[in-house]
């Protein structure tokens, strides 16, 4: 938090912004191409999600400038995602295990 590091007033370079934009476009094309390969079941989902995550990382880090921000803002973003995952995960504990084997003892 020293003086030379003015939080949030980081000025991004044009080159960086365009590189990220181009990178995102390439990833978009890539994900469409991969999906038309018709990969077997878990792989297609995983590849699509991996690419989406990579894109999200780029947007959050560079476009949203989290790299140069107060840490707490990144904590908020990650926290939100964690809570979303908890919500999904715990709900799935119900919906995926409705048909159950009851242990007899």
């Amino acid at each position: 938090m020293s003086a030379q590091e003015h939080h949030g007033h980081h000025i991004a370079s044009v080159k960086m912004l365009w590189s990220v934009g181009i990178g995102l476009t390439i990833l978009t094309v890539l994900t469409v191409v991969v999906s038309s390969l018709g990969l077997p079941s878990p792989l297609d989902i995983l590849s699509a999600l991996a690419i989406a995550l990579a894109k999200a990382f780029l947007v959050a880090t560079f476009f949203m400038a989290l790299k140069w921000e107060h840490r707490f803002n990144a904590v908020l973003l990650i926290g939100a995602v964690v809570f979303f995952l908890l919500m999904v995960g715990v709900t799935l504990l119900d919906t995926m295990y409705r048909i159950e084997v009851v242990p007899s003892f």
């Binding site: 009851v102 242990p103 007899s104 003892f105």
Partner: protein, 313 residues
Amino acid sequence: MGRLFDFMLPDNKSPLTADSTDGLFHFINEVSLIFLVGITIALIYFAIKYKRKSEDDKTPVITHNNTLEITWSVIPLLIVMVVFGWGYSGWLNLKAVPNDAYEIQATGYKWNWNFNYENGAQTLNELHVPKGRPIKVVMQSRDVLHSFFIPDYRVKHDVVPGRYTYVWFQAEETGESVIFCTEYCGTSHSDMLAKVIVHEPNEFEQWLELNGGGIQGTPVEQGEQLVSLQGCQTCHSIDGSPKIGPTFKGIWEREQQLTDGSTVVVDENYIRESILYPGNKVVAGYQNVMSPYEGRLSDDEITNIIEYLKTIN
């Protein structure tokens, strides 16, 4: 047994399902009482002992005490873990139906319970069971959520449309117990009561024999039985008084004003339509709350009901 909180619980009439629950209920109540008395005494004692003498009172600086704090975190933690384990095992027991359980089908709908037995016997709002034998009630709902609750047996489960759910119990004494619907389901939710009637095993066999084979008699008689089994009279009176739905008295060829302002004359087709798709033509002054009977009554059964309705004057 004479536990302190016995007065809170209804009689235990199905020890196999209720004992664990009751034991835990008493345990939690008693431990809680000890804590509550402790807390109350501490509050009153401190309030008196450390009453403010003057505005210049000096108080010691006690910021924290790790030993004390760990103690009062860990002891309750241990107690609640015991409670968790106890509750969990009791609950598993409630889910694990004995293999030799006698199965009865139950259907909940606004605002009745229908019970079906293996030999075709049907009852409305009366669950007949033999004593001393595990009973599994398999439940389904025709419309909204209901919940099947027998306080005397400590069993309860929601009845969910589109799914089967179940409860089991084993009644150990003859007599009657009340069944409540505990999931809010509309106007007559609180009247959606039924009772368990526990028979001696041989009496139960006789009862089953007597009521087996389903509905018999002339069309009018059959219609009458159907109307009573389907619980139509929960909402439709036969003495002319208005209930949740219009009365059956004098219904035949009556002119009815509908909610959209038009009128119909009650004939076979109107009754048929109103049974199968009750929301289509609702009589003015009434709500559209009846569950559709589409797929639940056969054409012959509907004909019999119509024959019966013609006779109510």
